[in-house]
Symmetry: C2
Subunit: 148 residues, 2 copies
């Protein structure tokens, strides 16, 4: 009894042991009780918390945002309406939708380039018949943000 070891919690949540301490440092996971020798002893709720963190992360929230969401759930008084899960989820949904739109533009550009049979970017950049919009293309979302 007396609590779960870090490796047990990590395994149960499908997470690395190091990640537990990382989350603790980031303020996402409460500091658990310790054994006499200083080893962490987690309550079972810690596993739930990890699942919540992973779910929120999967929904597009950064760890900082997750920390704020968890804080907002605990404090819950006099915060602006954007601070709750509702407000934040609405903002995040808008973000995700914007991202989807951006990627759709990219996908369409790739499709027309394939259709046009482009096979050399440098040649394409010099030819006026290539459909890749070299001059305007840089105006979109941050480069590299959808590669992963």
């Amino acid at each position: 009894m007396s609590g779960l070891r870090s490796s047990q919690v990590a395994a149960a949540a499908g997470v690395n042991v190091q990640t537990l301490r990382y989350y603790e440092r980031r303020g996402l996971l409460a500091e658990p009780d310790r054994s006499l020798g200083g080893h962490r002893l987690y309550p079972t709720e810690a596993i739930t918390m990890l699942r919540v963190i992973k779910a929120a992360q999967r929904l597009g929230f950064t760890l900082d945002e997750v920390a704020q969401l968890l804080d907002a759930g605990v404090h819950r008084h006099g915060h602006p309406p954007t601070a709750g899960l509702q407000g934040r989820a609405r903002a995040k949904l808008a973000e995700v939708e914007a991202k989807i739109t951006d990627l759709q533009v990219i996908a369409e550009t790739l499709r027309v380039a394939l259709d046009a049979g482009c096979d050399d970017l440098v040649a394409c950049a010099g030819s006026s018949c290539c459909p890749i919009p070299f001059s305007t293309i840089a105006l979109g979302g941050d480069p590299g943000e959808q590669a992963g």
Copy 2:
């Protein structure tokens, strides 16, 4: 005459001067001639190259992939068919489409959570009526990859 200064090239391409040297180190930009004192003197084609790089990056290619694309355009002999722009663009399109699908799942999950009026993740995780799929949600794409 004799070439463009790095700041001129950078300004023309909408890029930081440091970035020019970074790209040179990464092998994306050919080493230009130098003045007697060692200053870089770029041909106007350098600006075109930068536009090409930015375009490819915007289309979802990493800098390593861009370097390979540029190499493939130059060497052009006996490479497998996946090595050309066509093959790589097809693969990248598939990647982008997968990403879009993933984000659509996320957007839909956010929408149902908003619809259901969820306002506390921890409470939601403990309640069976919350539509957020805490147990299966971690199975999707890498966490954090669409935040930006």
